[in-house]
C-alpha cells in the first residue's frame, strides 16, 4: 500500500489544549443560556420573591428584619441555586452533547469546572449583584450589606460546585428534583451557617476575617475536589444510560 491510500489511519497525536477547550465550552454554555432567557430569570425571580414576601408574611418590623435579613437572603440564594441545578447537565444529557464532552481528550474534571463556572456566572453572580438592593429592603446597614455580598461572592460558587456533584449523580433519573435536594442540602448547611454567621458577626461589630477565611477554605476545597467527584458521577450516569 502506498502512503496516501492509508491517509485514514494516521494516529491523532495532538489535540486542543485544556484551557482552550474550557473556554470554548464556557462560551457555548453562556450562548445557549442567553438564547433561553426564561431559564436564566427563574432563579433570580425566585430569589427576589422569597425576600420580598418575608416582610409581608412574617413581620415588617425594622428590628426583626435587621436581625433576620441576612439569613433570609442567604436561604433564598441557596434555594434559588438549588432550583437551577437540575439544568446544569440535563440539557446536555438529553441532546447528547454530554457524551461528546466525556469523549473529549481533555481531562473531564476541567471541562466540568468550565461548565460549573458558566453556571455560576449565570445564576450565582446575578444573585450577588442583586443582594445589595434586597439588603437595603430588609434594613441591613451598609457594613452588613458589604459583608453579606462578600459571603455570597465566596459562598455561591461553593453552592454551584457542590450542587454539580448532585446534579451529575441524579442525571439518569426521571424525577431527580427531590433526590437532588435531599443529597445536596446537608452539604449546603455548613456554607449557610458560616455565611449568615459572618454577617451576624459584622452586625455586632465583631471581626469577620476568621469567618471569611473559613469560607475561603470551603471555596478552595470545593474547587479542588468537587470537579473530580462530578466528573466521576457523570461517567457513572452515562454508563447507566
Amino acid at each position: 500500500m502506498t502512503s496516501d491510500t492509508r491517509a485514514g489511519w494516521r494516529p491523532v497525536t495532538e489535540s486542543v489544549g485544556s484551557v482552550r477547550a474550557m473556554k470554548a465550552l464556557f462560551l457555548r454554555d453562556l450562548k445557549t443560556a442567553f438564547r433561553q432567557r426564561q431559564d436564566l430569570l427563574n432563579p433570580l425571580l425566585f430569589f427576589i420573591m422569597v425576600v420580598t414576601l418575608f416582610p409581608l408574611g412574617v413581620s415588617p418590623e425594622v428590628s426583626f428584619l435587621q436581625q433576620a435579613g441576612s439569613g433570609i437572603l442567604w436561604v433564598a440564594a441557596l434555594l434559588s441555586v438549588l432550583l437551577s441545578l437540575d439544568h446544569l447537565f440535563r440539557h446536555d444529557y438529553d441532546d447528547g452533547t454530554l457524551e461528546q464532552l466525556v469523549l473529549q481528550p481533555q481531562p473531564l474534571f476541567l471541562l466540568v469546572l468550565a461548565k460549573v463556572a458558566a453556571h455560576w456566572v449565570l445564576t450565582g453572580l446575578p444573585l450577588v449583584l442583586l443582594a445589595p438592593i434586597l439588603g437595603i429592603m430588609v434594613h441591613l446597614d451598609g457594613n452588613s450589606i458589604g459583608v453579606l455580598c462578600l459571603t455570597l461572592l465566596i459562598g455561591t460558587p461553593v453552592l454551584s460546585l457542590i450542587g454539580a456533584i448532585g446534579a451529575a449523580l441524579t442525571l439518569g433519573l426521571r424525577s431527580a428534583g427531590v433526590l437532588l435536594s435531599l443529597l445536596i442540602i446537608p452539604l449546603y448547611i455548613p456554607v449557610l451557617i458560616f455565611g449568615t454567621g459572618t454577617v451576624a458577626a459584622a452586625g455586632e461589630g465583631a471581626p469577620v476575617s476568621g469567618y471569611v477565611a473559613l469560607m475561603g477554605a470551603f471555596l478552595v476545597l470545593a474547587v479542588t475536589l468537587a470537579p473530580f467527584a462530578s466528573a466521576a458521577a457523570l461517567r457513572i450516569s452515562l454508563s447507566n444510560a
Binding site: 492509508r6 489511519w9 482552550r20 438564547r35 441532546d95 452533547t97 457524551e99 481528550p105
Partner: protein, 210 residues
Amino acid sequence: MSEPLLQAVNLQCERDDRMLFRDLSFSILPGTLTRVEGPNGSGKTTLLRILAGLNDAWSGDLLWSGQPRSHQREEFVRNMLYIGHRPGIKPLLTPMENLRALMAGRKVVSDNLLGQALTGTGLAGFEDVPCRRLSAGQQRRVALARLLIADEPLWILDEVFTAIDIDGVAALETLLVQRARDGGAIVVTTHHDLQLPSMQRITLGAGDDF
C-alpha cells in the same frame, strides 16, 4: 494485514439480569467497515457504547493498538469519533455554532472549513438557522458534517442512517466506503440494508439463546 486498531477479547455484558452477549471476540482493522447486526434490544447500541468507552458495565478485555485501553484513555478518545443515537446537537445553537462546539475540543478548524463541511452535507443556507427549526434529518446532517473534517482513524456510528433521505444515504455510503479505502476503521449499526464490499459483520442474538 496490519495491526488491529481495537480488539475485543471475550466481551461480556449483562443488562437488567439479561445476558446481552458473552464470549464476544473480534478485531477492528484499519481499512475495514464493521456492521453490528441484531434485532431490537439485542445490545447493538450497548456494544457500541462499550467500544466507545461510554459504558463501563462489561467484562473481558478491550485492547487499543495491542495495549489495554484503560491504560491509554486519552490516546483512545483522541483517535475515536463517536456519534450516538442522540447526535450531540444543541437545538438553540445554529449548525455552524454546533459544529464549532463539537470540534472545539478536538482540533482547530477554520470557520471556512466548517462552512464547507456543512455545505457538503447539504446544509448550505441553513448555517445560521437555530437547529430546533431544522428537521430531524437536517439535525443529523449537522452531526454527520463532522465526518467530513474528522481525522480520527476509528469511527463508531450508531444508527447512522436514521432520518436521512435517499440521496443522503447514498452520499454517506460513498463517504464510508471511501474512508475505509483510505485506511480508516468504521463500526456502524443500522437497520438500513447496507451492502458494501468487504464488510465485517458482528451478529448479536436476541439475548435468550444463552
